[in-house]
């Protein structure tokens, strides 16, 4: 046990976490040349393309240092705010953390909040200044930032480059020298923390865990505490680049477990594994049932594909327990599902995975948060509204509450004004403003979660020229003056386009919605009026003029091929449209409200 080190990496997106992790694997000989592939830990195609880690992963490295053999368990963490609970569980499984900071960009909001999590868990922090070889690197200043933040000595900050491999030996040395070995009682009853699970088509769910006390043996009868379910440990082992089956995984180590579980829902990240016969009295603290934050309808473009969509969603849920869904129907879109997601990125990922892995073309409706409505009849009983059309008749509503968050934004001093105006426009109230350095400011706001859902990230990026990072945590429900904005096409209300918004913004958003839809909905052979309404009152109107001319003047030898391809593309595009009444609406129009400022 004294030669085991468990650590994770805390870094902002693009600060080079995955690349540096690859270098560690290289240096310790954990991968052969043949296995090398950029960003080894990011196994999903989507992760590699987007350059982010969606799920956390773990890998074990062997390393000889001063003549002694060490086992180093690297637990990779997701780098996006949607997955902050998963990050907290990965952190709980470690004794130390590498804090990777880009030498050009310095510390970002996400990094700080994860760092605080690590400090709360008493992790040993090893600060690393990455990308020092970049021409834009500013090592002195960023080192000062890190020293200010951690209260460490400048010489404790390791300079490294994931690209060239510079500094990797120093990092490994620090992991062994500075991070404490795990503590724990090998003879105590089994106590292990589940920090991740992965779905494998052939073997079912693979559960990743860290043993705090006791050991987990092949064939042992075990119990998951939170779900209160029992299993046999069919296979246990450690996580090299491929899995290595073992007779047991001992105190302090990290490993995987296969029990024949088929659905991801049964394995909850944060849960404790213990022995069935001799259970621990000491469950791992911090377990939470992850709740979805954002809801949206997902409908097949072709109504006939409903059953296939259900199958696809069920399969997705097998390996993504945070996805929840239930059937719903829409007057405009027919049968589909109301789905709950951890956040906007999670929603995009699900939509993309449905298209890529299951070849399903879907319409995703305007996302919303979960509201609490109280009626005059039962003013003390919350009625949960996960879909704007579920909001009871306004005349019967006593009040509506919406979820609020505490938002932390770190930006350059130059952009404070811009960021503040944006947050105020988004109904934020400033709580705190701290100068981390003379250049970098941390702003804290309380604001409605719903405002984050509506194009907040993109706007923040724009107003700060990319120099702002953002993190949030929920702080509970607050009463708000909310109304439902309805959209009518050709005088028919399209329920899938309704959104709950603050009454003061209705006029403005209604107008923009109409303009955006006019831009997105192709012209048809008749005029199409677009109206925005609150209750019976029309607050804005636009008209899509009828298409009068749709013919190419010339179609000779040189035009035929190009013209054919153009019309083929047009037909393919139409397949992604949904007919509502007699109006054909393209997929992206249903998300129009998110793109009002494009």
């Amino acid at each position: 046990m004294k030669n085991i080190r468990n650590f994770c990496i805390i870094a902002h997106i693009d600060h080079g976490k995955s690349t540096l992790a690859d270098r560690l694997l290289d240096f310790t000989g954990s991968v052969t040349d043949r296995e090398k592939q950029d960003q080894l830990l990011d196994t999903m195609d989507l992760e590699r393309e987007r350059g982010i880690t969606i799920k956390s992963h773990a890998i074990q490295m062997d390393y000889e240092y001063n003549g002694e053999k060490y086992i180093l368990n690297l637990i990779d963490t997701p780098g996006h705010v949607d997955f902050s609970y998963e990050v907290s569980r990965s952190i709980a499984a470690c004794e130390g953390a590498l804090l990777i900071v880009d030498a050009a960009q310095s510390i970002q909001a996400q990094t700080i909040s994860n760092l605080y999590l690590a400090l709360e868990n008493d992790l040993e922090i090893i600060p690393i200044l990455n990308k020092v070889d970049l021409p834009s690197a500013n090592p002195e200043e960023v080192t000062d930032d890190i020293v200010d933040l951690l209260g460490c000595k400048p010489e404790e900050v390791i300079h490294a480059s994931g690209k060239t491999g510079f500094g990797v030996d120093k990092i490994l040395e620090a992991v062994i020298e500075r991070i404490p070995a795990p503590k724990g009682d090998p003879n105590a009853p089994l106590q292990a923390l589940i920090f991740d699970s992965v779905y494998n088509t052939f073997r079912g769910i693979e559960t990743y865990f860290r043993v705090f006390n006791g050991e987990i043996k092949k064939g042992q009868k075990i119990k998951f505490v939170a779900t209160d379910k029992e299993y046999y440990a069919d296979e246990v082992g450690t996580l090299k680049l491929t899995q290595v089956a073992k007779q047991s995984v001992k105190t302090g180590d990290v490993g995987y477990l296969i029990t024949g579980i088929k659905t991801a829902k049964e394995v909850k990240v944060g849960d404790t594994i213990t022995d069935f016969a001799k259970p621990t009295t000491n469950i791992v603290e911090g377990f939470e049932d992850v709740k979805p934050m954002v809801f949206a309808g997902i409908y097949p473009v072709d109504t006939e594909d409903y059953e296939e969509l259900r199958n696809s969603m069920e399969k997705l849920q097998l390996n993504d327990a945070s996805l929840v869904f239930q059937p719903e129907s829409s007057a405009a879109l027919g049968f589909g599902f109301r789905c709950g997601f951890l956040g906007m990125l999670h929603m995009e990922i699900i939509q993309e995975r449905l298209e890529r892995e299951f070849d399903m073309t879907v319409i995703t409706t305007v996302p919303n948060v979960s509201y609490h409505a109280y009626t005059n009849k039962t003013p003390d009983e919350a009625f949960i509204v996960n879909n704007p059309s579920d909001l009871p008749d306004p005349s019967t509503v006593n009040r509506v509450e919406e979820p609020y968050i505490k938002a932390t934004i770190i930006t350059k001093a130059d952009f404070v004004g811009n960021v503040m105006s944006l947050c105020i426009e988004k109904r934020g109230i400033i709580i705190n403003q701290t100068y981390l350095t003379t250049e970098r400011v941390e702003l804290t706001f309380e604001m409605p979660l719903a405002e984050i859902v509506f194009d907040f990230y993109d706007r923040l990026k724009t107003v700060s020229k990319g120099y702002a990072s953002f993190d949030y945590s929920p702080i509970g429900m607050k009463t708000s003056k909310l109304v439902r904005l309805d959209i009518l096409l050709n005088a028919q209300p399209v329920d899938a386009l309704s959104a709950l918004i603050h009454a003061d913004n209705a006029q403005h958003i209604g107008k923009k919605m109409c303009e955006k839809l006019k831009e997105l909905i192709p012209r048809q052979q008749f005029d199409i009026p677009i109206q925005a309404a609150v209750g019976a009152k029309i607050i804005s109107r636009e008209t899509i003029k009828a298409l009068r001319k749709d013919v190419t003047a010339k179609c000779y030898g040189g035009d035929i091929s190009r013209k054919r391809k153009l019309l083929e593309k047009q037909k393919k595009g139409k397949k992604r449209m949904r007919q509502v009444g007699n109006v054909e609406i393209p997929q992206q129009a249903f998300m129009a409200v998110l793109k009002l400022n494009d």
């Binding site: 749709d550 040189g558 035929i560 091929s561």
Partner: protein, 375 residues
Amino acid sequence: MAGIYIHIPFCKQACFYCDFHFSTSLKKKDELVQALVKELELRKDELKNETIETIYFGGGTPSLLTNEELKLLIDSVYKHYQVAENPEITLEANPDDLSKSVIIQLSESPINRLSIGIQSFFEDDLKNMNRAHSSDEAKKCLKEATKYFDNITIDLIYGIPNMSLEKWNKNLEMTFGFGVNHISSYALTVEPNTAMAMFIKKGTYPPMDEDLALQHFNYLIEKTNEQGFVHYEISNFGKPNYFSKHNTSYWQGKSYLGIGPSAHSFYKNERSWNVSNNTKYIKAIQNKTLPNTAEHLSIQDEYNEYIMTGLRTIWGVSLEKIEKDFGKTFVEHLKISAKKYINEGLLEVSHQKTIITTKKGKFLIDGIASELFMI
């Protein structure tokens, strides 16, 4: 049965709406003509001894070539290909190149059809489009040309913003007055990356008006019909026996050989096109290589092209031909997808054998064709 298209990529000046391939520098003209001759020789076996029924000089502005240059090219065709008796040989020409002496010279050459880029008889329209000729030149040249050529087509542009119906009518009356037997008439179209597109974006030229274009189009159909023209393709109107044989072959899927930069060729189910760059073209041909790209048409592509071109013509698409050439699934697909448009009066079935576009459907035919495609 095949045609040869020869592309002459030079113009005196650039019309504001044009996105065809051309150069306004005539420096390379000699070299290019030599390359065209060479390409005709290099490709002599491609059409597998099919008879050449039509030769078409398009551009650009082919009337920039001298009589000798035209003769050299026509002779090369005769030398390397099997040419039918009395082939249709068309020359696209601009009024400013067609002096009386040139017209007489041309009438004595094998060229037997002139396609004259009149566009409008009004000075302001010509100036606004940056045409090289004047209103006077247009009228004078037509007066002479009709004396020496019986087979003349002229280009007219309609839907020019703010062009009144009276003005459009005057252009048509003038055309009829000269006794031409064929008209190609195009709605002014803003192609991306043209000067006109930029002017509209900047606000210095008015945007297109679809309602106006449709009004002009319907008027054009009505007036040409009164004069005995047949509206045999969306933009083409000819008196009987004066349809363009060469262009018709494009719409009927016949073979053609495209010579010169940017020219397209079609044989069986392969289409190829030369590079749209004069220098690259000349260099490659000098090295005895063809600077072209080819695509193989799948049965689906061929069906889609047949639908797209067929519905633009008076001949429509034949259900029998589709069944014979493409099979039952294609006929069924067509019948099902056409139903909606038949009900809306945009398409109609003639003698249960062919689907043709109604007058109402003609100005919307691209979207309709797209819907009938097999994807």
